[in-house]
Symmetry: C2
Subunit: 299 residues, 2 copies
């Protein structure tokens, strides 16, 4: 039931109306791992610079996250800086220094190759493809991407989409991918490329699971205070795939619950900067909020 | 179980990417009535000009809508013109001619005064207050408003809010009313003024029922094509209050179902211009889509 994630590891400097965090650990692979490891063992592939302080992510190791595939290269760790506006729905990127991440070539340690659940976080689709080529018998492959690749490497991205089982994208990315303003028609077009399911992330408006024959709507859990939305999407993916890996069986009922788990884990992420909340919660905390979600959708 | 609605009657000229409709009947009172009358008898109070063609709303009469309180004044009917952008989430108002609506003074026919369910559609809060004063023993009062009154007649509006049971507002209006960016904290502040429940309309993102002790989330039904969003909010209110009036009992379980019914009726409204869809559907069509909504939220 182990999960493989390939993505970025970053040091984020984030300003929100509630404060500022400087050089906090972040990046898609780490947010995903912090979330998914609440449910199942995670194998991480990524790169950091010699300045990276592993003690900051020691809690991941304690939580069955294997960091063996995390390469340390000479140079500095990828750095991202952003500022959220008052309503938290929009952010401005202040800086992006790729540093050692610029030449990242995923190397999959041998015993990672038995991983059954694969999360291709938002990286160059050509690298995503090489990862797929190296995995023996994946049981479930899940893909994320971003506008940058949609406009810059569309052909390569479409080739990866054809090979994965589930896409997790936000509504803007889906519209940009298909060039169609209608979100459900866009979703159906994407399913025609091959995936069996698509998860539409809508931030504070929740998430939608789309298959060829059904829709499932999940609200976002109503947190009392959003402190820092960074990492919400990747921890959604972590909760989603973590839950499915722990279930073992991939069917629609489990995928629906996985969407609820993804939304719920993300609701913890945004309650503080960086991993502060994800670090202190347990699977039981998530289960209890999932039960609240059930009561909030019952009619 | 009869419902009273006080609001506008308009002739709308609407352009969307799918076409244009000129001088079609619209306005909050009519959209509300077309929706609510699928469930219960409706008494309408409003004003039209001598140019208004009653044959266009003959279907309302056939559907237990009492138009006796609809006054005909010398002059032209209220006219509104708008154009929706490609993504349908934003519209530009092209013109607003209040005409006979400018001096509208609601007059409640004597036998309307026994109405138990009251919808105060978006009109001047001072007029909304006079309506409340004239109703004998309302069982449930529901209020809508808009930015124009929030900024222009805040004190008068707050006085009405203190007297009603339920507010139905969109997220922008709620934030503007409280001056607070956080939607759930804003909702709680509004409940402190007196109402027992607040319904947050979020358009394509669904609706949220907020009470002092609970949240309930309804998705928007995924329509295959939005042709004209005009009237969605008022027909949501019509489905909501119509369902409650037909139930008779006001409790949280029924309010939750009422939110689902409101969302569902609104999903029909947007499938064509003006009342075209609302005119042809029956309660059974709504019930069947509500059942789909149940399946789309089950986990």
């Amino acid at each position: 039931m182990s999960i493989l994630v390939v993505g970025s590891i970053a040091l984020d400097t984030v300003e929100t109306p509630y404060g500022k965090a400087t050089d906090s650990p972040g990046g898609s692979a780490l947010y995903f791992s912090a979330a998914a490891s609440l449910f199942a063992p995670v194998n991480v592939v990524g790169v950091v610079g010699t300045d990276f302080d592993f003690s900051q992510i020691e809690f991941l190791r304690e939580r069955q996250v294997n960091l063996e595939g995390l390469k340390v290269e000479a140079g500095e760790t990828f750095r991202w800086g952003g500022r959220y506006r008052r309503d938290m729905n929009r952010r401005d990127t202040l800086f992006t220094y790729l540093n050692v991440f610029e030449k990242f070539q995923p190397e999959i340690p041998d015993h990672y190759r038995e991983s059954q659940y694969i999360f291709l976080a938002n990286i160059d689709p050509e690298l995503q493809m090489t990862v797929l080529d190296r995995i023996r018998q994946p049981r479930l492959t899940v893909l994320d991407t971003m506008n940058f690749w949609i406009s810059g490497k569309r052909r390569e991205l479409e080739a990866v989409i054809q090979r994965v089982d589930i896409l997790i994208l936000n509504d803007e990315e889906i519209r940009e991918l298909t060039g169609h303003p209608h979100i459900f028609q866009s979703a159906q077009k994407l399913l025609e490329l091959g995936p069996t399911a698509l998860v539409i992330k809508k931030g504070e408006h929740g998430a939608i699971l789309v298959t060829n024959h059904s829709y499932f709507f999940s609200p976002a859990y109503p947190v009392s205070q959003v402190i820092d939305p960074t990492g919400a999407g990747d921890s959604f993916a972590g909760g989603f795939l973590g839950y499915l890996a722990a279930c073992g069986e991939i069917n629609e009922a489990n995928m629906r619950r996985a969407v609820i788990y993804g939304s719920t884990v993300a609701s913890f992420t945004v309650e503080d900067f960086s991993f502060k909340r994800l670090k202190e919660i347990t699977r039981a905390d998530v289960d209890s909020r999932v039960e609240e979600m059930r009561l909030m959708t019952l009619f």
